[in-house]
Symmetry: C2
């Protein structure tokens, strides 16, 4: 609703119970993706509303199914329901998505789940959507990378600093230039590490449902809960940043519509905002997920890393395991700091939440790259496909040398706490 995005307790949409068990829904919702379109016979809206006499705040919110066309007993479409699209937003990007203002004027709705338990019902969808949006961040980065790579191999401009690489041509392709390489390696190392981490998280999700081992199911659920805000926040921030960096590879050609790169940037931007803005993800991580069950999930995360390090003590694995252990120690230090300081002043947790999310994500990426290194090493010494595995290891080293050092800045910022962030009165800004 226009006046409430994150803070759903402020919601005004009403649901009036009817004699037939349905409800009449009245209110306005904004930013409804695909709220109106002609690509399907019917559109089924899930709508949060308050039943008359419900408790105040989010504990009084219920969830309803509100179809565009009422459905008859035989499944065929009936009368138009009392809802209309009031307008379609003009947005920065994702123009394939009709983002609608939806007006409900006594529309017929059907309660989904129990009365006043709408938030819980919605979060079944929301947790899934957050991982879906994390995947959007990754795929936007991957698409931008593939396009920048083609251009970097094709565009002739300048000569390599170490002597012409294609002396027969008027200039070298720009992929010879170290700063272009830096961008491409950043994207490649993110894309492959993030893909691994997301798949590992999905595996944990599967195990939480189908494992016959109680501990394994619990671990799976803990990892899903812990990593959902981390992946949503980090992957979508990086999706946008990487799309921007890929655009930069094309220079001025990246800024014009013709090449498509600027659309990646505009489209990627929304993923940082929708399904819970990334600041909300960081707050979910430090305010809810860390503390749940006495910190069980985060301690399980540390143990997974420790077990991996114990099991991989070969000299070949050392660079990757050392890097993993280093960032794990940083994360433990930050976590201890959070737990010690966040309780007596929650602003400490809030002020450091985004840096903590990034530090957590870096530990996840280091874990993903260490696992990939373990898989790649035995196949990297020769034989069919050895070059592929050598490339994987070189990319792992790039992550360790050139991306993981961000941990230093995040940890230093976290430990300065809330004072510098909260020092000013609002009127002094």
């Amino acid at each position: 609703e226009p006046h409430c995005g994150t803070d759903l307790g402020l919601m005004r949409t009403k649901a009036e119970p009817q004699a037939d068990g349905t409800y009449k829904i009245t209110g306005t919702k904004i930013f409804i993706s695909a709220g109106e379109h002609d690509m399907a016979e019917n559109i089924i809206h899930l709508v949060l509303a308050k039943i008359a006499g419900a408790p105040e705040g989010i504990k009084g919110v219920s969830l309803f199914v509100v179809p565009k066309f009422l459905v008859k007993a035989d499944g065929s479409l009936g009368a138009r329901n009392a809802l209309i699209c009031g307008s379609i937003e003009h947005k920065m990007g994702i123009h394939g998505n009709s983002t609608c203002v939806m007006n409900y004027d006594g529309a017929t709705g059907y309660l989904l789940g129990e009365p006043h338990k709408g938030m819980r019902a919605m979060f079944t969808m929301m947790n899934d959507a957050r991982l879906g949006v994390a995947l959007q961040g990754l795929t936007q980065s991957e698409a931008a990378y593939q396009n920048a790579l083609i251009y970097a191999k094709d565009r002739l401009q300048g000569r390599s600093l170490t002597g012409a690489k294609e002396p027969g041509k008027a200039a070298d392709p720009i992929i010879v230039h170290p700063d272009i390489r830096r961008v491409l390696m950043n994207l490649k190392a993110f894309n492959e590490g993030a893909r691994m981490l997301l798949l590992w998280c999905a595996l944990q999700g599967d195990l939480s449902h189908v494992s016959t081992d109680d501990k394994e199911r619990e671990l799976g659920e803990d990892m899903m809960g812990l990593l959902t805000p981390v992946l949503k926040g980090y992957f979508t921030d990086m999706g946008f940043r990487n799309a921007t960096d890929a655009q930069q590879v094309l220079g001025g050609h990246g800024y014009i519509a013709e090449w498509g790169m600027e659309q990646f940037v505009r489209d990627a931007r929304i993923a940082m905002i929708y399904e819970g803005a990334n600041g909300i993800q960081a707050l979910d991580l430090v305010g809810r997920k860390l503390a749940m069950n006495g910190g069980r999930a985060v301690f399980a995360w540390f143990k997974l890393i420790d077990d991996f390090a114990q099991a991989n003590k070969s000299a070949e694995m050392k660079p990757y395991v050392d890097a993993l252990i280093t960032v794990r120690k940083d994360l433990e230090e930050a976590t201890t700091w959070m737990m010690n300081n966040g309780l007596n002043n929650p602003d400490h947790a809030g002020a450091s939440s985004m840096d903590y999310l990034y530090l957590f994500a870096l530990s996840g990426m280091a874990f993903a790259w260490a696992q990939m290194a373990r898989a790649a090493l035995p196949k990297s010494h020769g034989g069919t496909g050895a070059e592929y595995y050598q490339t994987k290891l070189a990319t792992a080293r790039y992550f360790v040398d050139r991306m993981l050092p961000d941990r230093l800045a995040h940890l230093a910022k976290i430990k300065t706490g809330a004072e510098p962030v909260m020092a000013l009165k609002a009127e002094h800004f």
Copy 2:
């Protein structure tokens, strides 16, 4: 030209000498800002072209004045010159700027400066333009900040983590939330520090022209040369990042056109690309500016900082001077690394150039904030306007605690050198 942006040696536009001393210019130029419009009686194009028989590469490039309308002896407008706007680009932003393809078909041009010295002539304009674009980055960040600040004070959503700040309202304004504060403080500390640094640089520019002291003129020129790529690269990267962060403060409202924030982001993006993409600024810094006159400029920079530290040893100044000295040491370590390693393998300099530019910029920001702290401290203890100076000092501390730690990551990355960046063959990407 379509096939040459940075690499002007590839230029194809021709200039044929005429009997009357003019030249006939023939060729195509792209991305010409305001190349055609009806806001002035005439448009004077500055066009780079090669005179027949000129040396190969950029040493054969000359600069010409090519007016849209030829100008008669009495100053009135004469015939239309043989140039036309072939098309106008569709771009991500800056829609107020008609970005043109310009076709010259034997257009009359007048040589500006000496034959084959066009690059030098152009850089008179270019150096000025780069500082102008640095200012664009700063102003875009400032405009985005002002808009985000209004919204953050106005938008009611959620409650402060430390208890309701406006219990009479349905929710607190979002400026109470630490992660919103973090964004606003980031922008405020950047804007004020960058403004100071740019003005200091402009002062050096003035001194380089008007000082009666030889050493002061030399220092002014050295500082202008050294800081131009730093300010262009850092300010425009930050202008875009800050516009993006300010957009995030508005949540979904930041993504729709109605609020104007998404336009700031789209407009700010170009400043990282035009007048020399930021990767080129970084290369200019490490490849040219560091080495000029045996490193005279960078050593002068260190001495300025050391002199400042020597002159400001009070306990009150300690936090700001300590921070300045710390980042100055990092920068010296990085500079020494660059000089030692860049000579035997220039890819080392290239691969670390962007991190070096950022580290340099942080030393400049620390210098700017230390100077502002020195000015603010005596007036911060009481009396009229003391709150203003206390706010200035709190913002300086925010810079030290929450922005300067990025130096750690930049230095660590610089010292890993070119190997991780250049490890892959092009076909292995």
